[in-house]
Subunit: 269 residues, 3 copies
């Protein structure tokens, strides 16, 4: 209940402060990520040229780095922006999309983790395992893994990197050091819309831009997406499909409020 | 009434001619901009490689340059396409997204204004002030300014650059030389969808591609977005949110017609 | 009826295998393409850096190459990924967006066809004529041509390149060698949403990722889009427009099943 209350307060804080969330992200889901930030109450900005990212991030409440369509030009921008954010005490949120699928993604994630201190990392089980140095069979950018030792993995990575770690899946796991919570909100239809993972990361970034408690921000971002997904799914009628679901998902994020989070949030410890 | 009639005729002309609107634009809102052009009756094309932009723009009714996610590669393409458009007498519409937020954006906008003759510039108050050489505090790409001397600023910039200038906000201001009009259409929910500014610019480009009167095109583009926003907002029910609003916004642009513009357009002089 | 049955079985196979569809595509319609692949039952991945495309494609069921916003960096990635796919026997689907509009597009398409063996090419009549070495007046990336000799053109290109060729338009033509079929599904409103061509190509890629019969995959992809467009259009009410239509289009792809394809597919030979 303490945590649910903190999450609710974090939402109010987002709406009051409207933090600027600088993204260096992929071109597949970027529009949805921007609209998610706005729907929650933040202000998105996307900028990826090496000549401007350090200056842009200096105005930001948080920096979201998403490697979904990384390239050699933008990798350097991610590093430069991340370092600048570290210098200024601005939280950096990493979405290691598809890490493990290619050497470029794995090397880039490793380099990012070496050169930039992250505040939160959010990925699916496969991605978090790869970052943890575990073996996992990867196919593209979607998770193949389904594990019971996720709690241990999240705690381990969190301790090693000294940041919050969120593993999203049927049950989400968020850890920061020995602090762990599980979230059972969500609906499997969320996996049928591209970028709900990216969007969760952007929500975490938005929450982190309005609070210094990044564990709460991580839980809040993941729970908000899961709860909105549930509510959106419930609102569907039999003739509706994934197009309508996606529209309603944005409706529900936009209408999210303290009461809904407190009454609908499903936390397990 | 003269102006409203000219706007309505410009719309009919768009639907008859279906002008090709070449965009060099950002990857955040590009899909929405393309769909806006189509919904109004134009034909969008996006192409940004330096090897093809001059050839592509030569078929176009108008060129839209939007610096929302500029990079060093695309900046050169913007310049090259803009110069070619000037040579051929094709109108160029500039959206100086986030100018003032970073030196790269400010330098790029300055360079564009030096090397390319614009027909219309559309920005928020902060952006237009920066282009006017005025001081303004910038945070990211959304407007922080709220001014009463907007009319003077728009006229000043218009005279200096010899082009139409549109400042969009709660009340929109469009100037071309000493000709000024204000538009009070719109709803504040428009600011909760990413890219409604970019989309307005694309609508201006589409109108400009079907008429040689760029002042009317600027007023028409801004008014069409504002009026569609109003109508879309009115159609919402209590359980709807920003996702449904965005869908309806496209519906309303698609259904826009002469009658709606004439009866719904709110012009002030 | 044989073909309709094969199409229906191909859909079931997509849903069972959920093939990974690697795209190197444009930034205008990429999100819609990813969501189309997911809606049909596949798994999309977008990756375009030269350092990773060969590795990424090696996990894929099919590779979709779409030149809609090609640039000099991504052209090399298209070639490299295409060659690797050929080596591994993975089908490559080409969408030659806007070929003929600029020399860069024409040269790139020529190079792709020389260096990469395609399994399916999908374009509008203008684009397929250009690839066939015929003269055609091009304006941007949308088709200007409307022909009666499409059947002959499709067969000719198919034989020359030894691949399936799909020409989409009011009536769609699909050929592989002397095998030809026409599809009369679809509604003209589809041309009012940007990227329905790109999305058809992504659907073809998804079908091809789950079957070795690429002619059937090409027919299936085109028919699925046409039929979904018809059903989506029928579901509209008088106040709906293009925004609602697009949402329903995704709904209908998501709800597509064997029965609908068999009862609704309109094949002509």
């Amino acid at each position: 209940m303490e945590l649910l209350k903190a999450i609710a307060e974090n939402l109010t804080s987002v709406k009051e402060k409207s933090p600027l969330i600088h993204h260096i992200t992929n071109y597949v889901t970027v529009n949805d990520c921007a609209n998610m930030v706005l729907a929650l109450g933040g202000s998105p900005v996307m900028a990826d040229d090496i000549e401007e990212v350090q200056q842009m991030v200096s105005f930001a409440g948080a920096l979201v780095i998403n490697i979904g369509t990384l390239n050699q030009r933008t990798i350097e921008s991610m590093i430069a922006a991340g370092k600048k954010a570290n210098e200024l005490g601005i939280p950096v949120i990493l979405d290691p999309v598809g890490v493990g699928a290619t050497d470029l993604r794995t090397k880039t994630a490793d380099r990012l983790l070496k050169e930039v201190k992250m505040s939160v990392i959010r990925g699916n089980m496969s991605e978090i395992k790869i970052l943890s140095g575990l073996n996992v069979e990867i196919k593209g950018v979607d998770s193949a893994a389904d594990d019971t030792d996720g709690r241990e993995i999240a705690v381990g990575l969190s301790k090693r990197l000294n940041c919050a770690v969120a593993i999203t899946g049927a049950v989400d796991i968020i850890a920061e050091g020995d602090k762990v919570c599980l979230i059972s909100n969500g609906d499997k239809i969320l996996s049928k819309v591209t970028g709900t993972g990216c969007m969760s990361t952007s929500l975490i970034g938005t929450y982190a831009g309005a609070s210094k408690d990044y564990f709460t921000a991580a839980v809040a971002g993941v729970m908000t997406m899961g709860l909105a997904g549930e509510l959106a799914f419930k609102s569907l009628e039999s003739e509706d499909g994934i197009g309508t679901f996606k529209v309603r998902l944005f409706d529900e994020i936009y209408k999210m409020n303290e009461e809904k989070l407190i009454s609908g949030g499903k936390l397990l410890f």
